[in-house]
Amino acid sequence: MSDITIHGLRKEFGSVLAVDDVDFDITEGEFISILGPSGSGKSTILRMIAGFESPTAGEIRIGGDDVVGDPPFERDVNMMFQDLALFPHLTVAENIAYGLAQDGVPADEREDRVQEMLEIVHLEGYDDREPHELSGGEQQRVALARALVNEPKLLLFDEPLASLDRKLRQHMQIELQQIQHETGITFLYVTHDQEVAMAVSDRLIVLNDGQIEQIGTAEELYDEPNNSFVANFIGDINTLPAELERDNGNLAIDINDATRTVGDSYVDPGVRDNGHHEIDLCIRPDDMRIEPSTASEANAIAGTVRNRIYKGGTTTYHIDTDVGTVTAELGSSQFDVGDEVGVSWSDDAAYLFPRRESEA
């Protein structure tokens, strides 16, 4: 049995459906992220688990017990808030000891555990500072220590790193991971930043419009996305509108009036047999090939290099074609802006998904 089970979780705000029958399990000691664009309902899920919002329907089981209906102060769950919510009138040590005091831990033990926490987050000697005297990164650490100190069954993160600059964020990611390993506490991290989520998490939950699109490891989501939303959200991808047709018994994909005949096994049965005519064909930029238009393959898409971005090891090209702008990442920088080129890819690099209306 899983340690934390979310089952049929649903939240309606008036007529707005924020969370739509969400199910997932978390194993003890796991670092799991909920990844989704803003407005996808990820913070609402977090607030329901913490107890700040009550679900319209569903179960939240922590260690077997359904905690729906329990107030936040009775749940063995702590949260690290987006704005950190450090108590400005208390010192660093008092902030960290706050949860221990509520649990009735005696003063001298409280002192020891605060010191222990300060050590873990590398803030030794900061006891008597006040939150406003600390830098953004230091405040993050205090908030983390405060949430960790009474060893909750589950620690929730509501995009707490969003306010940090890129370097500090990357540094904090690594530290979060280390601290999670050291303490063995289960982390549930909510973010819209796929880079952070992929870097730190054991598993990711991709959320869109209140529904789970896919759950898996970063590799699974990148290599085997369930649909074009996940493919788009996890890493960059080119999405080309295409049509799936049967021509004399052969399966064919039409892109830009060029037809590629493919074997039946090439197309996922879910897409092939459900009568999907319009599909999205998705290819990662680093799976794209570019040839000079004179030498291009028969079914390549003709285009013009709009710009090129040299990135050291690789070069990114944006190529204008009749089916939209295509991004390609190549090891060489042999093409120039304005070059007429042909864009192609190997068939096994492409993902085919039922077409869906693009979302912002």
Partner: protein
């Protein structure tokens, strides 16, 4: 011609303005003087001067010109009646302030936490201000007098068998004060409570503190400054007021403000009235200083280093 001249004038004006700007930029002391002088002058003429005149008057035997004396202050501290009135004034002020602050905090708290019609309630709190103070006091006389609105209502419901006649009592004065000064307490409380970040409340609950503990250890200390502002705004005018106790309190609830008014308007002993006024001002300032010393720096929002 004229169209050609206008831009020239405009340029001259702009030049002059820029000239003045750089002139002031090079003279920071003059700039500060120009900014500070007008309000300082207003304060000196309308605030400091009358106070000095009051102090001067309190040290005279009668209307000026008159010989100087300490007699007015001696009379105040040696005659028991004045000391007991000062004491009673202090007690009433303390009671009325505490009650007003408690009720005001409860109203402000419910406005911020529970109400979806905050603007409406805020309006209801402020609205009495638009009616004249004296008229509102006469309304309370109507309500509180024997067989008045309150008695009639209570008799009708059957809570009491005989009219209470709350008017002309200690309680009537307290009711009047609470009614008049409640908005002055609600507004700063509302301001500081609505500045309080809901995430801090959530964080406290999240860390295991129940609603009461959260209120005591987060909400109350975080709104300490607003509470102090409310106490000062309510307490100081109550200490010096004379109309409310006069109209609602009758003869047994004399406050020092009534004596001062009496000395100026009826007894024509301006010197003694001035001595009483200066004493009241001194007590108020002393209470403010004591409060600051006891409770730390009320006006500091950030929390400085010790």
């Amino acid at each position: 011609m004229s169209s050609a001249r206008l831009p020239g004038i405009r340029a001259n004006v702009a030049d002059g303005f820029e000239h003045w700007q750089s002139f002031l930029r090079d003279r920071p002391r003059l700039k500060i003087f120009l900014i500070v002088f007008p309000p300082a002058l207003v304060l000196a003429v309308f605030f400091l001067l009358p106070l000095v005149f009051m102090a001067y008057l309190s040290l005279l035997e009668g209307m000026p010109p008159a010989p100087a004396t300490f007699e007015n202050y001696m009379r105040l501290v040696t005659q028991e009646v004045y000391l007991s009135i000062l004491w009673r004034t202090t007690v009433i002020t303390a009671q009325a302030t505490i009650l007003t602050v408690l009720i005001g905090y409860a109203i402000a708290y419910s406005m911020v936490r529970f109400s979806r019609r905050t603007t409406m309630i805020l309006l209801l709190v402020i609205m009495p201000f638009w009616t004249n103070y004296i008229i509102r006091m006469y309304a309370w006389i109507n309500i509180l007098q024997t067989n008045g609105v309150l008695d009639a209502a209570l008799l009708f419901v059957g809570v009491i068998n005989e009219p209470l006649g709350v008017l002309y009592s200690h309680e009537a004065v307290l009711i009047g004060f609470i009614y008049i000064y409640l908005p002055l307490a609600v507004l700063p409380f509302y301001a500081s409570l609505s500045y309080l970040d809901q995430d801090l409340i959530d964080a406290s609950m999240d860390l295991g503190a129940g609603p009461i503990k959260t209120f005591l250890s987060i909400t109350l200390p975080m709104t300490k400054n607003g509470i102090m502002v409310g106490v000062i705004l309510v307490g100081i005018p109550i200490f010096g007021s004379f109309i409310t106790p006069q109209l609602l309190g009758g003869t047994d609830n004399t406050m020092v403000g009534m004596i001062i008014e009496n000395q100026f308007v009826e007894a024509f002993n301006w010197s003694f009235g001035a001595a009483l006024s200066i004493t009241v001002a001194f007590i108020v300032v002393a209470m403010l200083v004591l409060g600051m010393l006891a409770g730390g720096n009320f006006f500091d929002l950030g929390g400085e280093d010790e």
